[in-house]
């Protein structure tokens, strides 16, 4: 069926995939808030939320309802339109990155090979950087349009932190790109899958441990997570760029942080930990015995397991390490991580030249 030279089945397939990925990210992010409280409770020897539903499993729903029913206050002197656009932008930029992440290999459905990736663009990583650099606008617009000095200062603080750590993040990835020779996330995953021990020896983290460390630190800073959560240091500075927000608009800002965490975990797993690769298992031989679809779903489960581990790591760090001071944060970003990333790049280049000689 082609009208207007569009393959409508393809269109429908992508539409369903986009809907599925967005719903999935939202549900995961919802339960990350629950998991964060539970992990915090375990680390601090408490019980955590246990009233709403069995084991407190309905707590995220209760929180969401609470936020919806709260009074919505838009300050009189604020810029009304931008005040509403701010949290929307934060949510949109948080969701956009999921378009290039390969969630799994292909599934055969109704005689069609459906790729479990929304768009396999040949500039996948650069797309991720583009969206990350746009993430600043949600913070800046929200902080400025509130017409409050503290919000504005917090927004500047947050924006300069994100811009500073983008540099080290990009430099740490250049070394990885020299090895893979491709910017497409799908190609990077497939290269890792072809390594020894069922793909495990192909994982990039084994060849780029320093690059991985720098990237992980930068991800913490980009997501505004402790130890770098200075834009919202509520008990030392003030609440931050969303100080004037209330009701679900505040909820959007807080929720966008959890979606960012989920997506960043997915990107770290994809780039350094083999993506949907099942370690110690050769996928092609397994596909002969179990069938391609089952193996593809197992791959999705493997990716999810890696993501859940990194989400746990985010929480673990949050409840273990205290917050940095702002000058320490800038010092770490500009004077330590960037030279380290440059050195890593140089060493990688030399090793590649030496091996190819």
């Amino acid at each position: 069926m082609t009208i207007l030279q569009i393959d409508f089945f393809y269109f429908l397939e992508k539409l369903l995939l986009i809907g599925g990925v967005i719903t999935f990210s939202l549900v995961i992010a919802m339960y990350t808030t629950y998991a964060e409280r539970k992990v915090a409770a375990v680390l601090q020897d408490r019980l955590g939320p246990n009233r709403a539903g069995p084991f407190g499993l309905l707590q995220p729903l209760a929180d969401g309802l609470k936020l919806f029913f709260k009074e919505e206050i838009i300050p009189l002197t604020s810029n009304k339109l931008l005040f509403v656009i701010g949290p929307a932008l934060a949510m949109i930029t948080a969701m956009l990155t999921s378009a290039v992440i390969p969630w799994g290999s292909t599934v055969n459905m109704f005689g069609r090979n459906v790729s479990l990736q929304i768009a396999d663009v040949n500039i996948g990583i650069l797309y991720v950087f583009g969206v990350v650099s746009l993430g600043v606008y949600g913070i800046m617009i929200g902080g400025w349009s509130s017409n409050n000095k503290f919000s504005l200062i917090a927004a500047v603080r947050g924006a300069s932190q994100i811009i500073s750590y983008e540099l080290a993040m990009g430099l740490s990835l250049i070394a990885l790109l020299m090895m893979t020779g491709s910017l497409s996330l799908k190609t990077i995953v497939e290269q890792q899958m072809s390594g020894g021990w069922g793909g495990f020896l192909g994982w990039n983290v084994l060849y780029q441990p320093l690059g991985f460390l720098i990237f992980l630190i930068c991800v913490f800073a980009e997501c505004n997570r402790t130890p770098f959560d200075l834009p919202e240091a509520e008990n030392e500075l003030n609440f931050g760029y969303h100080q004037e927000y209330s009701s679900m608009k505040l909820g959007f800002y807080l929720f966008a942080e959890y979606i960012n965490m989920f997506i960043s975990s997915a990107i770290v797993s994809t780039l350094f930990f083999g993506g949907y690769d099942i370690p110690f298992v050769n996928e092609t031989t397994l596909a002969h015995t179990l069938g391609g679809n089952v193996v593809a779903l197992l791959g999705v489960a493997a990716l999810l397991a890696k993501i859940v581990f990194f989400l746990f790591f985010f929480m673990w760090v949050r409840w273990t390490i205290p917050r940095f001071r702002y000058d320490q944060l800038m010092d770490l970003g500009w004077k330590k991580l960037i030279p380290l990333a440059l050195a890593n790049m140089l060493i990688t280049a030399i090793v590649i030249l030496w091996l190819n000689k």
Partner: protein, 172 residues
């Protein structure tokens, strides 16, 4: 109309509307935000021309970095329409004169081009892809490329030098 043409005209309308709004917005912050929308539609045009690398770099560098600095400056200066000084009459006359002569030059330059443009919707070229672009930059244009990078380096050093505190010259 093919899907490519529809996308082209949509992006063109978006870019022109955004560019007009940059000029006509009273609030400088709104102007910057409209300018970002212009960059987005230009990036869309690059993608239609199969230059994905250019499209995304346009977004990272212009929308993601330069416009953020613009926003920084404008937000911190807290510009209002009341505090803005009125332009003098002579300045307005000079502005309309120079704008009118620019329009004349543009009309003179563009009046013969109608027959010369052929393949607007040409997408077969893949010079904009990162691999080809890198090869061209590092073989044919390697000297200008390196010289421009030295220029950037000197600008960077200059900025650091300006931003550094002068500790002894003020005291002595």
């Amino acid at each position: 109309m093919s899907i490519l043409e529809i996308l082209f005209w949509f992006l063109t309308a978006l870019a022109l509307f955004g560019a007009l709004m940059v000029v006509f917005s009273k609030n400088p912050v709104h102007s910057v935000l409209w300018l970002i929308s212009v960059f987005f539609s230009i990036s869309g045009h690059y993608i239609l021309l199969n230059a994905q690398f250019l499209a995304i770099v346009n977004m990272i560098v212009y929308a993601g970095a330069i416009m953020v600095l613009f926003l920084f400056v404008i937000m911190l200066m807290n510009m209002n329409t009341e505090s803005e000084p009125q332009k003098s009459k002579w300045l307005r006359i000079a502005a309309s004169l120079s704008g009118g002569s620019l329009m004349l030059v543009l009309v003179a330059a563009l009046k013969d081009t109608s027959g010369k443009v052929t393949g607007v919707f040409k997408v077969e070229g893949n010079i904009g892809l990162i691999k080809n672009l890198g090869q061209v930059l590092f073989t044919d244009y390697v000297l200008p490329f390196e010289i421009s990078s030295v220029l950037f380096l000197s600008a960077m050093v200059g900025a650091v030098l300006l931003g550094k505190k002068e500790t002894n010259s003020i005291i002595s």
